[in-house]
Every structure is written in C-alpha cells, then in structure tokens.
C-alpha cells in the first residue's frame, strides 16, 4: 500500500490552519504524532510518501522532531513498529540543510526524491551500502547473488549489505528479491498535486 501524506496539511490540521512553516519542537512533535496516526491506519507493510512540497520553512528542531524521531521509530530499533518504508518528497535546499544535519546527528539515512528527479539516498551510509543501493536502483530488483555479480562484492557481503539496507528501510524486501524504495513510478499520480484542501492530507493507493 502506498500512502501519500501532505505534511503541510498535517501541520494545518494538527497545529493551526494558519501556519505554513514547520518551526519549533512542539509543532514538530504534533505533526509527527499526526503522521504516526496515519501510519497506524495503513497496514503492517506500507510505503509512505511524506510530501514537503507545500511546507515553507523547516527548522532544525522541527526536522529533529519529525524526520529523525519518525525514522528512529521505524528503522533504528530491533523490532520496528511495522514495516513502513518512507520517501521524503518535495524538499527544497533549505529543508535539506535541516534534514541532513539531523540525519548526521543520529546516524540515519533516508530516501529522498525531489520533484521530477530520481530517488536519492541521503544521510549516513557507507560506501558499500551506497554502491549496493545504486545498483539496486539500476537493476530494479536483485537477489544477493545478482548484487555480488554486478558489483564484485563477495556473496556473503552482498547478502549482509542488502539485509542492512532492508533493516534501515532503504530497500524493500520481497519474495522476488530486494527492490528500491522509490515513488516516481508508483506514486506519480499522487505526487503531482497537493493534498485535498480541507482533507486529511493522506491519499492511499
């Protein structure tokens, strides 16, 4: 299931319908809780596209509350709440300043996608993880042996790297293999516009 969450709409519904900027920790915490409520409704395995296109400003405190604390709940614990993959969509340069700072602080990584661009890996990943992730994006779906062949990595290392990327929710693990987390092809219709005015800011497909 793919869920498109317009973060700006969540802000307006959770905090104040006059606000367009994600500033202050209490605001960030309220928005994160709003997003978590949506995630609670979308099943045990889902891809959530968090759309920042209509967010004005994102400061460091809010980035920490929303991005870092959300990721830590779903990717940085041994037993995450559920198998939720995130794509952070539509950020501008200044949003990325704040997001990259908090990712570095917490040793986190995530998949980002700017409008009209390919998905990117952002944050703290080592060279092997990045190489593997890029190869998966190139090939579409891989098994450990495919990755080992394509990169020259030893088979056991390829398997460990893919497992690590999956645990960090940077790739999707399926029976057929490991697939990239990306939203352009699966969510194009959802990503083209803002959330429904006055709606929940969540659309699912």
């Amino acid at each position: 299931m793919i869920s498109h969450i317009d973060v700006s709409t969540v802000l307006k519904r959770s905090v104040c319908d006059l606000y367009s900027n994600l500033v202050t920790r209490p605001t960030g915490a309220a928005v994160r809780i709003g997003i978590e409520h949506h995630l609670d409704e979308i099943g045990d395995k889902a891809l959530a596209v968090l759309d920042f296109s209509h967010v004005g400003l994102l400061d460091f405190s809010c980035a920490d509350e929303i991005v870092a604390k959300l990721l830590m709940q779903y990717v940085s614990v041994d037993i995450p709440r559920r198998e939720v993959y995130f794509i952070f969509y539509g950020m501008n340069e200044s949003h990325m300043d704040a997001i990259e700072a908090v990712l570095e602080r917490h040793d986190l990584a995530m998949v980002t996608q700017l409008a009209g661009c390919d998905a990117q890996l952002t944050g703290c990943v080592d060279r092997e993880q990045r190489t593997a992730w890029e190869k998966i994006c190139e090939l579409g779906s891989v098994l450990p042996a495919d990755l080992a062949d394509a990169t020259g990595m030893p088979a056991d290392k390829a398997e460990r790297t893919l497992e690590t990327l999956w645990r960090r929710r940077l790739v999707i693990r399926q029976e057929s293999g490991y697939s990239p987390v990306r939203g352009a092809n699966v969510g194009r219709g959802l990503l083209d516009g803002p959330g429904t005015p006055g709606g929940t800011g969540v659309e699912a497909s």
Binding site: C16, L18, Y19, S20, N21, V23, T24, R25, P26, T27, G56, L57, L58, D59, F60, S61, D64, E65, A68, K69, N92, E93, S94, D97, A98, A101, V102, R105, H106
Partner: protein
C-alpha cells in the same frame, strides 16, 4: 532614592556594557531612571536589551526618551514604545507609531514568550524578507530561508531555556564606514532569564573544574552544542545557526551572565571571548549578516 543610568549616545551591543556596568551595583529593588535624552541611535540589541533591563527590576523603572524627533520616530516605528510603556514610567514626547512601507525595520520589537510567538515571528519576517534581504542585501531566497531558520532557533532558545519571555528585533542597515559601505541585517534576541550557565547546571550541576563559569558554559553550548536535555537530538539549533553564520561570513555573539562569546568574521575585530563583565541575567544574542557582494 532613584539612581540615574546614563544611556549612551549610540546604543549597540558594545556601548550597552556601559549600562550593565552602571546597573551592576544597584540592588534590584532600587528605583532607576534610564536617561536616554541624548541618545541618537539604537541597534536592535539596544532596543531589546533596554526592555530586558526593565524586566530585571523589582521597582518599576523610569525612562527619559530621546529628545531627537527622528530617534523617537524610529523607536516608535520599531514598536519599542508599545512595549516599553508597559515596563517603564515614560517621560518625554513619544510619537505615535506609524508603519512605513519604506521602513528598513525587518521585524519590529516582538515579544517571545510562547511557541506561537515563534510562528508569528517567522510568518512576519517572511513577508518583508523578499524586499529587504533579497533586494537590498542581495541574499538569495535560499539564504533568506536559512536566515529565518536561524531566527527561529534563537527565539526557541528563549522559550526553552530562559524561563521567562524575551524580545526579538531585526533591522537592515547600510554601514557608512565598515565593510566598504555594505548593507547588513542585524538580529537581536534578548532575555533576562536563567542564562546559559544556570540552564546547564539545572541538569548536571556545576562542572567540577575551577574554570566553570559563564564563559565555559557559553563555550560548551555555543561552540560544542552541549545542552541540558538528555535527548541526543538537542543542541542542534545553535550549531545550525553557527554553521549558517560561518557560511555567510556573518558574526554571532552571545552574552550571558558575566561573559560574552563571539564567532568573529575577518571583517570584525571583536574578541572571541570576554569574561569578567558586569553581571546581567539571561542571554543576549546578536547576529549580523553582511550583504553578499556580486563577485563573492
């Protein structure tokens, strides 16, 4: 008995030390009169710190306003008197506040007490940022966003750490002599709360070292991102501000208690650390961002 405090002719973060020096020996319950009749100019630091001074007094202080009409007119446009009238017994002629579309006041003196005040500050400044920051200071829109992030983080520090409300003001200037006549934008955020040292001590107590004091507390928080909170995500605000200031060749100074720390660019000769200053509660922050030259 009323003690008269002489306000300097030109009131900025440096000359304000004269006021702190005069205040230091006076008990907080003693009446004071700040005599600003001969004052001709005040930076955002001067205006916000003047309001902060009043908040430290148990006896309502008095303020003799500047005699020069253009000075009082500017102070009124900056909304100084709007707040000062609630804190001071005002003497002298206070002009009616008028908004001017030509004003270079980027943000009038604004109280920072609650979280929603930070939203108000950010929303208000964005409305004027394009005209002043982008057109006058040749800052790109992305830099304007980072500038506003810095402002937001500094204001949040007041709410989270001061334990009292504070004041913020932002002004753009064209320097006559310094930086070859370049324009600058100056942010000042002042409070009279617990200050950096007491904030750190509230969680961990004093550090077991002879060096522990306001200066070391400023070094830990401003330079190393230490905070009283256990949450490892804390302390990023000031670090982010410092990074932005460094990237933009700006200046960042924080005075708290008896010390003052500054991130000093090459165009300024300020001292990175001053200790042994006259004690004053809370924290007083100033950020200066210079105009970006076309070839920079």
């Amino acid at each position: 008995m009323t003690t008269i405090i002489s306000v300097p002719f030109s009131l900025d973060e440096h000359s304000f030390e004269q006021i702190f020096d005069q205040l230091a020996p006076i008990p907080p319950d003693e009446k004071i009169l700040l005599d600003a009749r001969r004052t001709r100019w005040a930076s955002p630091f001067g205006l916000t710190a003047l309001l902060t001074v009043a908040q430290t007094r148990l006896e309502r202080p008095a303020l003799a306003v500047p005699e020069a009409d253009d000075t009082t007119s500017y102070w009124a446009r900056a909304s100084f008197f709007k707040h000062a009238e609630a804190l001071y017994e005002i003497s002298g002629r206070v002009p009616r506040s008028r908004q001017s579309s030509e004003s270079s006041v980027l943000l009038e003196v604004t109280p920072v007490v609650h979280t929603q005040d930070v939203h108000t500050v950010v929303e208000n400044i964005q409305q004027r940022a394009r005209a002043i920051l982008q057109e006058k200071l040749h800052l790109q829109s992305t830099v304007t966003m980072r500038f506003t992030m810095a402002l937001s983080e500094i204001c949040q520090n007041v709410i989270e750490h001061a334990g009292t409300g504070g004041w913020v003001a932002v002004q753009a200037y064209k320097w006559q002599q310094r930086l070859g006549g370049r324009s600058v934008v100056v942010i000042s955020v002042c409070d009279a709360g617990m200050g950096f040292r007491k904030s750190l001590e509230s969680a961990q107590g004093p550090r077991p070292t002879d060096r522990w004091g306001d200066g070391m507390a400023l070094e830990e928080t401003v330079m190393r991102g230490v905070t009283r909170f256990r949450d490892p995500g804390r302390g990023q605000g000031l670090a982010g501000v410092k990074r932005f200031i460094g990237n933009w060749n700006g200046k960042f100074s924080v005075r708290s208690g008896t010390a003052r720390i500054a991130v000093v660019p090459e165009w300024d000769q300020d001292e990175p650390m001053k200790e042994g200053l006259a004690p004053f509660p809370g924290a007083q922050v100033q950020i200066t961002i210079p105009e970006r030259m076309q070839d920079a």
